[in-house]
Symmetry: C2
Subunit: 358 residues, 2 copies
Amino acid sequence: MPRSKSNRTSAVRKQSGAGVSLKFLAEHLGLSQAAVSFVINRSPAAKSIPHRTQELIRAAARELNYRPSHIARSLRQQRSFTIGVVVPEISEGYAALVMSGIEDHLLQEGYFYFVVSHHHRNELIEEYPLLLQQRAVEGLIAVDTVLSDRVDVPGVAVSGHRDVPGVTNIVLNHDRAACLALQHLASLGHRNMAFIKGQEFSSDTEVRWEAVREAAKKLNIQVREHLTGQLEGESSSPLLGYLVTQKLLACGEPFTALFSFNDISAIGAIQALREAGRRVPEDVSVVGFDDIQSAAFQNPALTTVRQPLRRMGMIAAEILLQRITAPTKTAHPKEIVVEPELIIRASSAPPPKNSNFN
Amino acid sequence: MPRSKSNRTSAVRKQSGAGVSLKFLAEHLGLSQAAVSFVINRSPAAKSIPHRTQELIRAAARELNYRPSHIARSLRQQRSFTIGVVVPEISEGYAALVMSGIEDHLLQEGYFYFVVSHHHRNELIEEYPLLLQQRAVEGLIAVDTVLSDRVDVPGVAVSGHRDVPGVTNIVLNHDRAACLALQHLASLGHRNMAFIKGQEFSSDTEVRWEAVREAAKKLNIQVREHLTGQLEGESSSPLLGYLVTQKLLACGEPFTALFSFNDISAIGAIQALREAGRRVPEDVSVVGFDDIQSAAFQNPALTTVRQPLRRMGMIAAEILLQRITAPTKTAHPKEIVVEPELIIRASSAPPPKNSNFN
DNA sequence: CCAGCATAGTAAACCGATTTAGTAAGATAC
DNA sequence: GTATCTTACTAAATCGGTTTACTATGCTGG
C-alpha cells in the first residue's frame, strides 16, 4: 500500500495542470515510477498490482491531471505516431481535399501529422523529407510530388507517378479518365477538340496527356498541335486557363470542344471563351477534371471527370499505416489504382450544326 | 586530437544514413559526445576545441549523414519548435487560406505544426488542444474556433471572438466590412435588401450580423425578418446558400439586393435566383464575403468583401512566436484588427427602375 | 620551481517516460 | 523447517541528445 504524501507543491501543480510528471505523481503517491507507469499503460506487468492500488493511482492521475509526455514516450519507444505530409500548396482545392482524407484516417488511428508545402521549389522538395525524418516521422505521404529515395521511412505518393523504391503510388486510372471524357464529347458529335495540358511540374501532366492521346487515337479524334495548350505558372488560379485559352482562340483554328487539365483552368477557359463571343455550351463544350466543390456551381455547371481525392487521401493513409505496423506482412503494393467518374453537367452539349468542319 | 576508429559497423551505418546517433559519431571519432555536441551546435563551449578537430567532427557528421534526433533534443531542452493548429475543416477555402499564411511564417522560423480539424464536434474541440499539449506544442492557433481555457500554452485565435484569458484574437473589422458592403449597395440605389446570416456555430456569425444591423441603421436601410435567412448545416458547399435563397424567394417579399455571409453561399444564392428567373445583377445584386479564389471567376464575377485571410494567418503565426520567444516583453495584445476591402465586380448593379418599392 | 592560466577536452547529470531484472515479505508445499 | 511460489512492488538501464562541472596537460611569469 503506498504512503500518500500530499504536500504543498502538489497543490500548486494541480492548479496549473501542466508540469505533472510521472516522477511527481509517483512521489505524491509514495510509489515508484515503474508501478505508476504499469498501471497507467495497463501493461501486463500491472497484473501483480492490486486493484485497490490501481484505483488510487488512476484517481491521483485524474486529479492531478497527469498527461504523459508524448516526447519522452516517443524517445523511449522509438515510435512517434507522427507522419509527414508533403504537398505543393495548401491553399488549393486539390491538396486540401486529399489532406482531409489523410487526416480522417490518421487521427482515427491516433497518429498526428506535419504538413509542409514546397511551392515546387526543388531544394525544399529535397530538404523537407529529411527534416521530417529528423523529427522522427514514421512515414511520408507525398501529394503530387516526387519523393526522393534518400529517405528511409515508408512512403506513399498520391499521383506521384515515379517509380521510387519503397514508395507506393496511389494513382487515378488515367486511361479510363481520358476515355470517359473523349467518348462523352465524341458521342455528342464533337470532332474538333482543343486540349489544355497541365504544368510541366505536375506529376499528372505527362501520364494524363499520354492517356488522352491514346484515347483520341482509339476514337479516331485528331489531336492537333495548334489546338493544344499548356498551363504555365505556379499559381492555382483560373487565370492560367484563361490565358491559355486566349492563345488557343488567337491561333484561329476552329474547335467545338475543350478538354482542360483541371476544373480551375476550365473555369478560366470558359471566361475567355465567353469574352471572345463563344457561348458555352452552345458554341463550345468544356470538360474539366477533378470535380472540385465549386465545379457544380459554375454557370454553366461544369461537366468534369471526378477524381475521388478524399478517398485517395484515405487510402494513402491506410496503406501507410499498414506498412508501418506490419512492415513485411504483405509485400507492399507498388501501385493502387482508383477509378474516375464522369460527371455530366451543363457545360457540354452537341456542337452547333453549321460548324461541321472536319 | 581524436583517435579515429573506423570499423565495419560504421561502414554499414553510413549506407543506411539513419540510425547514426551522437554516441556512434563520437565513438567513430574517438571523442566524447559532449565535444561533438558542442561543435555541431556551435555552442560557446566549442571555443576551446581547435579548428582542426572541429573540421574533423563536421566532416564526419556530413559523411555519416548524422542528423540529430529532434525528439531527444526537445526532451532535454523542453522546446519542441512545434505548434498546433485547430481548424473546423481542411477541405474548405477559408481555413486552407489561413493555414497557408500560418505555414509561411512558421516554417521560415524553423517551426513545424500539427493540424487537427474538429468538424464542429464539441468533444473534439475540447480534446484536441489537450492532445496537442501532450505532444508538447509550444502554442496553439485556433481558426474560427473557441479555444478552451484549460490549455496553458499561448494561444492565438483567428476569428475567435471570445474573450478567453491568454488568447490573442485576430479579427476583421466587421463594422467597416458591413459598412462597405451596404454603402455600396445603397449608393447603387438599393433599398430592399435580403440577408443571409452564417451558421450558428461560426464565430463570425454573431459579430458580423450585429455589424450589419448597425450599418443598416446608420444608412437607414430596413432589415426585415422575412428577408433574413440563415445558413444551416456543416457542409461548406454552395448548396446551403442555394437552399436559404429558395426560402427567401418563397416568402414572396420583393428585394433587389442580397448580402450573403460568404462567397460560397453567395454562389449558391445566384444559382437559386437564376433558377427562379431573376437575373444577376440586372434584377438582383449579390454581394459575398471573403473573396475566395473562385469569386473572381464566377459568372457574373462576384462583388465581395475581401478578408485578408492569408495575412491573418501570417499575423497569427507571428504574434504566437513573439509570445513564445518573448513571453513578458510586451503584455500581449488582446486583439488585432485587420481591415476588409470591398471588391466590386459584376454581380452588383443598380436596381431595376420599375421595382421602386420602399 | 611552482602558481596560475589557457587549452582540450571528459564524466556524468538530466529531460520524462518505458521496461527489464530483481527483491522483500508472506503464503504454501512437503 | 525450509524450499518454492506468489504478491507487490523497486532499482536502474535506456532512448539520444544537452549542459554543467570538472580534469589533465602544457605553457608562462615571477
